[in-house]
Symmetry: D2
């Protein structure tokens, strides 16, 4: 398993009338966590797009346990547990400042060729970088 942690502070504009981080922004946070996880491996998502790969989300599942509040610094633990092929799965756990698990999510992304817009296999260099963490 490859694991990476990202911290994000909840912005005023992202909070709703209940004083909670609006449910629609969790997907923004998880994307940021995902991109930072890839970066920590040496992979720039920006460069991936320049190399001709797109990585749209196919499935998003979020389970809301407790709210995050304005100005909280939430901690997101991103996990890659399976070697990406055409699909790339990420799972996430979000913790608040009291170390309580407040949110969980899973996303499935698909590698797509930018020109043909058809699914393709995960680039070999990504698989290489993940190998040490995913092999027994």
């Amino acid at each position: 398993m490859y694991t990476h942690e990202t911290q994000i502070r909840v912005r005023y504009g992202e909070v709703d009338m209940m004083g909670y981080l609006y449910y629609g922004y969790y997907s923004f946070y998880y994307e940021q966590a995902r991109v930072e996880t890839m970066r920590s491996l040496g992979i720039s998502y920006k460069k991936m797009e320049e190399l001709g790969f797109m990585l749209p989300v196919r499935d998003l599942n979020i389970h809301f346990i407790k709210p995050a509040y304005y100005d909280d610094v939430v901690r997101i633990k991103t996990m890659i547990t399976k070697m990406p092929m055409v699909r790339h799965d990420f799972s996430y756990e979000m913790y608040n400042q009291n170390d309580e698990l407040i949110n969980k999510a899973v996303t499935t992304l698909v590698y797509i060729d930018k020109v043909s817009r058809k699914p393709v296999s995960c680039p070999a260099f990504v698989q290489e970088l993940l190998k040490p963490y995913l092999e027994r």
Copy 2:
């Protein structure tokens, strides 16, 4: 089953570099569809909050089939298939202008008392309004 349709035009600021409606905005669209579905039954979510009920989302599941593009008018079909108790489930189908199913989602919301912040039962007047559609 109770069904309602909502149309939303994709805004420029909601589209990403791929030219697609950003995956994070689907939850904004589904909320709008949900609120309009309630309104079509004669229920104002705003009034519900004033009456002391909150309705945070507990689970969000989105399946992305095809992208929506900038300036597309998407059509969202919102469905209530089960009498809400403490939980209130909504399912959604999103269609593009060629009537292709491009996205599907399910959300589970929970009725919460605004003061105690504890789960409560769906208000009786909501159940009454839904009864004709959910009984055999």
Copy 3:
């Protein structure tokens, strides 16, 4: 002067802890109003980009008078008072459901060639469509 009116309902995710439409979303609303104003003239901004023109914002000035609240339907009056050349100015007034002026804004956009990314003149067909409204 060319004038067009657009109505937008304030979404839950766009409202902040004060119960007000978050100040950052006014620019989203004014963009929607601007695009609908162009559409009412027969001009699709999407098609403009396909024709090779981009129209980024150069200046944004917003004056906040009164808040807009969740679920309000605000009415935006968009005005074009000057023939666009390289620059295209729009001014806006936002009214609430009691017909109170709650917000005012001005934006200056610049026509840019998509390939060279250099400023260019407003396309002639846009000027033609605006002529009847801007001549004495």
Copy 4:
């Protein structure tokens, strides 16, 4: 003058079809910069709201010079040059990774009593903290 610098990385969902940070998100960034500037002085905006003060924006002026791109880390220099009374002015300069000035903005905020929703004077403790920087 009191000055503080904040760095923000441009998120995927905040970028538009041109590949630019969408013009609507600058106000989100400037708010984050403003809040961090206050925090660097020892003032939590969250606590200010708990103490009964609200600080809505009255005027927002943004001048766009060059775009910010996806994944860029922009640097925002926030400046307080005048002792806040009922109004509190902030000015901002945004720089890209090549240290080019790409954006400038000014915001005017107004201190409001949370209960009466009437303008009030800036709290004395805020003025005290700013005094050393604003006096000759």
